[in-house]
């Protein structure tokens, strides 16, 4: 059964009508054949979906990015990638289940994949800590990236987290340092790095595996400096103002592409990635492979220089000409 979000209720209603009609052919009312009337209804649904999904608000996209059926990193590791060989632990403290990583095959290429991982149900979410990694997750990611650097494997990161975990243990084991070190070190690895935001790109916790030669984003994913709710609580003194905050923060794939903050938008099936895992997996593979090939045509030092230049250029300010 498809899971409908609140704003998808009109679609759900049309679908319910269609299902009822299918079950009761005698209810035909338009004076055309049953099959023809079905077609009319189906077209109506398609048209309504096309209308709805091509005019989504920022907040509606955030809801799609958080959709309970949305494909997660491990889903893509089964479909976009093959032969995932998971590697565990940071060799220091523990194995963070909110951050998965290991070897995998991407078409013809052998790569290192690292991704934040949410749980599908309550039990799994407790195991995965709702996709919010602790310091050991970021340190595991760094360990695997160093391994990839030594043995010349391209690194692909899949980002889907509300943010790094805000807890006492995380602070005690220095979550801020774990993220900061990744930001610094990811700027020094010569192997190609591609980051893809597949769902939620939650602030520093996302950026902690997000410094890359190419930053891709799925059509209905978002990437933000602060959660819309957090921003709303601070600026509007009301978490319910999250839709306004989502709009103001310019966090959708389209906003980010227009600002030059991401390189490529990966189109999703109509209605979201969760409606056709096979289709989105193929699209993602095609895009990742194309980017890997492009990046492999550069030398290591060339990649480092262009990665530095890419992040170096982010920012807008004014200064009098004389200081230039």
């Amino acid at each position: 059964m498809r899971h409908y979000l609140d704003f998808e209720k009109p679609i759900a209603e049309l679908q319910r009508k269609l299902d009822a009609f299918k079950a009761h052919p005698e209810a035909a009312s338009l004076g055309i054949s049953w099959e023809e009337e079905m077609k009319v209804l189906e077209n109506k649904i398609f048209e309504a979906e096309r209308q709805l999904y091509s005019n989504l608000t920022s907040w509606q996209r955030v809801q799609l990015a958080r959709h309970p059926k949305r494909p997660y990193s491990l889903d893509y590791l089964r479909t976009t990638f093959q032969e995932f060989e998971e590697l565990h632990g940071d060799r220091l403290y523990s194995d963070d289940h909110a951050m998965v990583g290991g070897f995998a095959r991407l078409g013809t290429e052998r790569v290192m994949v690292i991704g934040t991982q949410k749980g599908r149900d309550t039990k799994e979410n407790i195991f995965r800590n709702f996709g919010s990694a602790h310091p050991e997750g970021y340190r595991k990611a760094l360990r695997l990236m160093k391994l990839a650097e030594r043995f010349r494997l391209p690194v692909i990161t899949l980002i889907d987290t509300a943010g790094a975990y805000p807890g006492v243990g995380a602070e005690e084991r220095h979550i801020a340092e774990a993220i900061a070190v990744n930001l610094r070190e990811m700027m020094t690895f010569e192997v190609p790095i591609i980051a893809c935001v597949i769902g939620e790109g939650g602030s520093g916790g996302a950026l902690g595996i997000g410094v890359a030669d190419r930053v891709l984003i799925l059509e209905n994913a978002y990437y933000s400096v602060i959660s819309p709710e957090g921003c709303a609580a601070i600026l509007w003194k009301d978490r319910a103002a999250a839709p306004k905050a989502a709009e103001a923060l310019k966090i959708t794939a389209t906003n980010l592409k227009a600002a030059g903050l991401v390189d490529e938008i990966i189109p999703e099936p109509l209605g979201g990635a969760h409606l056709d895992l096979d289709a989105i997996s193929l699209t993602l593979r095609e895009s990742l492979l194309r980017n890997v090939f492009q990046l492999k045509s550069l030398t290591g030092p060339e990649r480092l220089a262009s990665r530095y230049a890419k992040f170096r250029a982010f920012g807008h300010f004014t200064e009098p000409k004389s200081t230039a």
Partner: protein
Amino acid sequence: MATRGIRRKQIDVEQVPPAVTPPTRDGASNSFPSRPKLTSKTKKRDIPEGLWIKCPRCSGLIYDKELDDNLKVCPNCTHHFKLGARERIHSMVETCSFEEIDPLMESVDILKFTGSSSYESKLLSYRKKMPMLKDAVVTGVGLIGTHRVALGVMDFSFLGGSMGSVVGEKLTRLIETATDRGLPLVIVSSSGGARMYEGMFSLMQMAKTCGALAYHARRNLPYISVLTDPTTAGVMASFASVGDLILAEPCAMIGFAGRRVVEATTQSELPPDFQTAEFLKQRGLIDAIVPRLEMKQRLISYLHYLMANRVAS
């Protein structure tokens, strides 16, 4: 008038003339006395009650001038009040040795951020309120003892010391200057984190500054990060946490997530010293806690060690 003087002190947005002289450029340059002096305006406003400030820790009353002379450290209980960027630079560098970089760079409202109030109007009101600051960081090169050092100092009084494009760009240029000129780097942080009003551009300053630090480190140049009250979130999760040495002022609030967020997420009572400098030191996350009045001497001492046998690369 008098009560206003007190409140102004307590929220620590007081302006003193800058202790440093920006390079001569356009009409924006002025020369300032080498020691901060009360302006006539401040004097008038502060007579007589405004001259006394109540310490939030020991509740003692401190004479305003005495507090300034003591680098805003309570003489009774050593409580560290927040210190403005220019006053701090003045306390750290040799007289007249500081050459400011990019003194005129200003933030722009790139997202046309509309909220309860617009970013544009916020920026304007802050610039008006504190004409000696264009944004939340002052950067430049100066002498600390005998060491020529690239120095960046954040100022919490400008929009909570938040890091947007200007803070990120000025710090990145400072780090690159240090790398190019072979200078040690000292950054004094004081920030609530990334600046929401610039959205993802703010987040990217974290990667930008850390990337520049990678190249500074490659040249075997030392970076000392000084954490002051408060240093949190996006600043703590970027350049502030990757110093070769990490120092903190006593009792400074330092952490990644806000205390209330941690409380709400974990639904548990937090240790009373949670996210203080002392908490971090006890858990092995910082090198040392250094009182403000000793900071300059300690920096000189550390730099002697770090630069003594350094092999340039």
